[in-house]
């Protein structure tokens, strides 16, 4: 599984990344987590409000820090 966390690096984006990692650990799922901070890259993915989480190419949430339970649902589902 490949997870992208999109955000230029504000506190909220850092928090989103942290929550994703915690959720992965809790679920015992192996996945690569990559932080995308470049605006051009973010725009190319079609996202324009950050933080955003993309799992295996599918945009899961934009413009807010996701709940841990949300993430658990996405990675298990």
């Amino acid at each position: 599984m490949n997870i992208l966390v999109l955000g230029p690096g504000c506190p909220k984006c850092t928090e989103a990344e942290k929550i994703v990692k915690t959720a992965l650990q809790e679920a015992g799922v192996e996945a690569s987590v990559e932080k995308i901070t470049d605006f051009q890259e973010i725009a190319k993915l079609g996202v324009f409000s950050t933080p955003a989480v993309v799992i295996d190419g599918e945009i899961k949430c934009v413009g807010r820090v996701p709940d841990k339970n949300d993430i658990l649902g996405w990675i298990k589902g």
Binding site: C10, F39, G46, F48
Partner: protein
């Protein structure tokens, strides 16, 4: 929107009842604050009614809970309203809008659309690639940080509803007119080249089905995030205000920030640009300045400049805009703020 199981009406009715009961309790407590503050200051602490210290203490024990209670209520309410205005929806509403009407709509949407300063650039790209005119995009980007619920609550709580309404009205006006002017100047070619090549990408719009429980949870998160961050500023600001209220002679600031010092308005705007603060940090300061005799126009110009024009923001925008457009943006908005400052110093 699709109806999900837990938004069926008995649950909704229950939420509504709990909400109304909570509002009733809130109002009951709020109404008692003044008499409680007076009782605490003069009967429990035993300060004399005429003393400077007594006045300062009463001011503090009244204003602190008052502003915090207002902040919690309004941030919660706005947090829920914001769940209906995602940036995606705002973009869809503004795409294809013409200028003028678009500028007005963009500035208003700037108040209710969730926005953090670090999403300014992605949002800018999203708007421009969706065909929102450049000037309309700027109206949004100017209004979003400047006119917000925290600024309005603090202005209302510390300076009264007239100042809050003036700030909101003129803030929107600056955003509308400055955006319109930037649109008229035809500066599209001063965006970075890769921005112009970016193709519109419409498939990122995801609609989330939110239940009322979700919305209320998001409102609570907003309270925790925002009030958790600003309460210290508020208390410090009110403490300073209380000290000034009790001790500093009136008219102390009149000579340098008063109406007669014509140069004080441009000076306030210029000093405000390198300063970068949020509304919570700046309102207590301008409260103090006003009490010492500074003119309202000068002080409002200072506040707008600190919040709306900042060097860090210019640095971030540089990634998508060429220097000429950034300079134009700063100049147009700065001029607007300057005019607002002079206007109020003349009419009030």
């Amino acid at each position: 929107m699709k109806r999900t199981f837990d938004t069926s009406w008995p649950v909704k009715a229950k939420l509504l009842l709990v909400g109304l009961a909570g509002l009733g309790v809130w109002y009951g407590v709020y109404r008692q604050l003044l008499s409680f503050a007076q009782y605490l200051t003069y009967n429990i602490f035993g300060f004399s009614q005429e003393s400077h210290l007594g006045e300062a203490v009463e001011f503090f024990v009244y204003d602190t809970p008052k502003v915090l209670m207002l902040l919690i209520l309004v941030v919660f309410g706005v947090g829920i309203i914001r769940t209906f205005f995602t940036p995606e929806r705002t973009r869809a509403m503004l795409a294809g809008k013409r200028e003028s009407a678009g500028n007005v709509l963009a500035a208003m949407l700037g108040i209710v659309t969730p926005f953090c300063s670090c999403s300014a650039v992605p949002l800018f790209l999203g708007f421009v690639t969706a065909g929102v005119p450049l000037g309309v995009t700027f109206s949004f980007l100017i209004a979003a940080p400047m006119v917000n619920e925290i600024a309005l609550v603090l202005l209302y709580g510390l300076l009264g509803w007239k100042v809050a309404a003036l700030y909101m009205g003129t803030g929107l006006l600056v955003a509308i007119v400055a955006g319109w002017v930037i649109g008229r100047l035809g500066m599209e070619k001063h965006m970075e080249d890769w921005v112009l090549e970016l193709r519109a990408n419409g498939n990122a719009i995801i609609e989330e089905n939110l239940s009322w429980q979700d919305r209320i949870r998001m409102g609570r998160t907003a309270v925790k995030d925002i009030v958790g961050k600003v309460w210290l500023y508020v208390i410090a600001g009110i403490a300073i205000g209380a000290g000034i209220h009790g001790y500093v002679p009136e008219g102390f600031m009149a000579a340098i920030m008063g109406k007669d010092a014509w140069w004080s308005v441009p000076a306030a705007v210029l000093i405000g640009i390198p300063m970068y603060s949020n509304a919570a940090g700046i309102v207590p300061v301008i409260h103090a300045l006003l009490e010492k005799g500074a003119a309202l126009g000068t002080v409002l110009a200072f506040m707008m400049s600190v919040i709306a024009l900042s060097l860090p923001e210019a640095v971030i925008l540089r990634k998508v805009l060429k220097p000429k457009l950034i300079a134009t943006f700063m100049f147009v908005v700065g001029t607007g703020i300057l005019l607002v400052g002079y206007l109020f110093n003349i009419i009030i």
